[in-house]
Amino acid sequence: MEPLTDLELVQQVRNGKREAFTELMRRYQQRVYWVARRIVGSHDDADDVAQETFVKAYLALGDFRGDSSFFTWLYRIAVNLSLNVVRKQQVMNYLRDSPIISSLLPARENPHKDAELKDLASRLQQAVAKLPEKQRAVFVMRYFDEMSYEEISKVLKTSVGGLKANYFHALRKVQEFLKDEIAPNHN
């Protein structure tokens, strides 16, 4: 028997069949997790983004019109949530740079985060973390997920030309970062 399509599963969810949504989660949870992980950099944040992505998708399924595929729609939610996390990380990092502000803030959100980044994510992940948010998202989708520009364009609602430029500049920056990382070890 042929497996149900995403749209058929979506229709079943709309008709009240919750198990159909579990099947959709089963299909896409790894891709959602990994795109989040690549963008936000840590497992804990990626775990939260992955869960929130599916929660939001479930709650907003009534608004899904099928203009794009279910996966593209879901992926867009995941990328946007991941970028929200990145923005919050940047604000918190900025605030922590001030001695006065940092004294008002609680201890670092996740004391294992830095170590995790060093141990788990490799130099490449560190390089990705240095990219501006748009380039970071494009790099993750193109380099790691090997998505076509047309697919990325549907997710980010940006022109293919702009995405190409973003990706190329991201590649150059990552290269430079990696070269700088490697060079001291060779001296």
Partner: protein, 174 residues
């Protein structure tokens, strides 16, 4: 002046070459996942997400969750920044967070809230239920969830309550 290369100048071959260079420098293939979670994790993720969906399925839960996790912490983080600026000002006393929020104009407050807005895909859902909660409910929910990452932890309960009341009263445009 350094000019950026235009989009049309970047050929597929150049892109491929740059991509391969990154792969060589990183020493991994693009699809290699560094120490990813186990299959057990993903099985568990479905269970936990289903539980979260159950909790979020009511409009009340959505409002409380969004307020406690996104809106209020977002505003407070920014306000802390303003307090820091004030502290450095000459002959100024440090105002409280509540005082600072109280002095913001409604458009400024709306801007702060929108800056931490949720995904547009579910904005319509959120709008239907946002702020349909009392300050007491928000505080109770916040304390119950014990979110360890928010700066709100540094605030006394009464201040959280006051902030929630101000947000409820003012952020009517969302």
């Amino acid at each position: 002046m350094k000019l950026r290369r235009t989009i049309t100048e970047i050929t597929d071959a150049e892109e491929r070459e740059a991509q391969e260079a990154v792969g060589r420098l990183a020493g991994t293939s693009p699809t290699h996942h560094h120490e990813g979670p186990s299959e057990t994790y993903f099985a568990n993720l479905i269970v936990r997400t289903n539980e979260r969906i159950d909790r979020a399925s009511s409009g009340l839960a959505i409002s409380l969750s969004w307020l406690a996790r996104v809106a209020v912490p977002g505003v407070v983080a920014i306000i802390f920044f303003f307090i820091g600026l004030h502290y450095y000002g000459p002959e100024r006393s440090t105002p409280s967070v509540v005082e600072m929020i109280g002095t913001l104009t409604p458009p400024a407050l709306d801007s702060l809230l929108l800056a931490s807005q949720a995904d547009p895909a579910v904005a319509a859902t959120l709008q239907r239920s946002l702020f349909d909660v009392s300050a007491d409910q928000l505080v109770e929910f916040y304390i119950a969830t014990e979110n360890p990452t928010t700066v709100l932890e540094t605030l006394p309960e009464q201040q959280v309550k006051d902030i929630a009341a101000i947000l409820e009263a003012r952020a009517v445009n969302l």
